[in-house]
Amino acid sequence: MSFLFNDLDKVSEKASYYLERTKIIQSNIANADTPNYKPKDLVFEKVLNEQIKLKKTDPKHISPEIKNETKLKVVEDGYYSGYDKNKVDVDHELAKLAESSIMYKTLIEIMKKDFGRLKYAIKGR
């Protein structure tokens, strides 16, 4: 997209990460009493994208742009092992849930502000 929505792109990407993470946390809480279940978490990590390698046939060709790409990665995380081999700690999961929810709401507010600024610029008042 154009430069106009550059920031919004990044913010919405992060917001969707928090929405996906909430789902994973919900799945952990739902399985808090399932034997042998190991809790999962989602990590937002930056990966240097070096996949794009175009062949240069002429020295005047512009070299391809290397972009920072973000990727979601699922990791297993257990903190506490109960007697039934279930590693879900409901308190911890609820804390993560609150964190995700607050971050999501903040990002939505930021997006609203961004759109508001754009609208202001268009209307001129």
Partner: protein
């Protein structure tokens, strides 16, 4: 896809509800004999199982009650020679239900239900919050 999170918390609440139902039936039958063979009632235990949701691109697990098993622990014996069900030595077999254990289980199930409900509400509020973007 959008409401997957709500669906997963729903399965969690349903499973805990089944668990509460079984606990209620155990407590209700603390002095019962089985209707088929005349033996004492055996305590029932639900077995939870996680199911991978294949439609999602991240590993989400629903939960379900896979089966309801019988507790194989021995029956309680009570000396009561006047009871018609008593054996030669005057002992009556009673169900292997421990009311205290059932109460603890019930508390745990109620708390798990609440945790699932909290997760459900949080996710719902997040989805409603995202609607505010179009109000700008």
């Amino acid at each position: 896809m959008l409401f997957k999170g709500l669906e997963i918390s729903m399965t969690g609440m349903e499973a805990q509800k089944v668990r509460i139902d079984i606990i209620s039936s155990n407590i209700a039958n603390v002095n019962s004999v089985n209707e088929k063979n005349g033996q004492p009632y055996r305590r029932k235990v639900p077995v939870f199982q996680s199911i991978l949701d294949k439609e999602s691109n991240i590993p989400l697990y629903k939960v379900k009650v896979a089966k309801i098993e019988e507790d194989k622990s021995p029956f309680k014996l009570k000396y009561d020679p006047n009871n018609p069900l008593a054996d030669k030595n005057g002992y009556v077999k009673l169900p292997n239900v421990d009311p205290l254990k059932e109460m603890v289980d019930m508390m745990s199930a109620a708390r798990s239900y609440e945790a699932n409900l909290t997760a459900f509400n949080t996710h719902k509020n997040m989805l409603i919050k995202s609607l505010e973007i179009i109000k700008v």
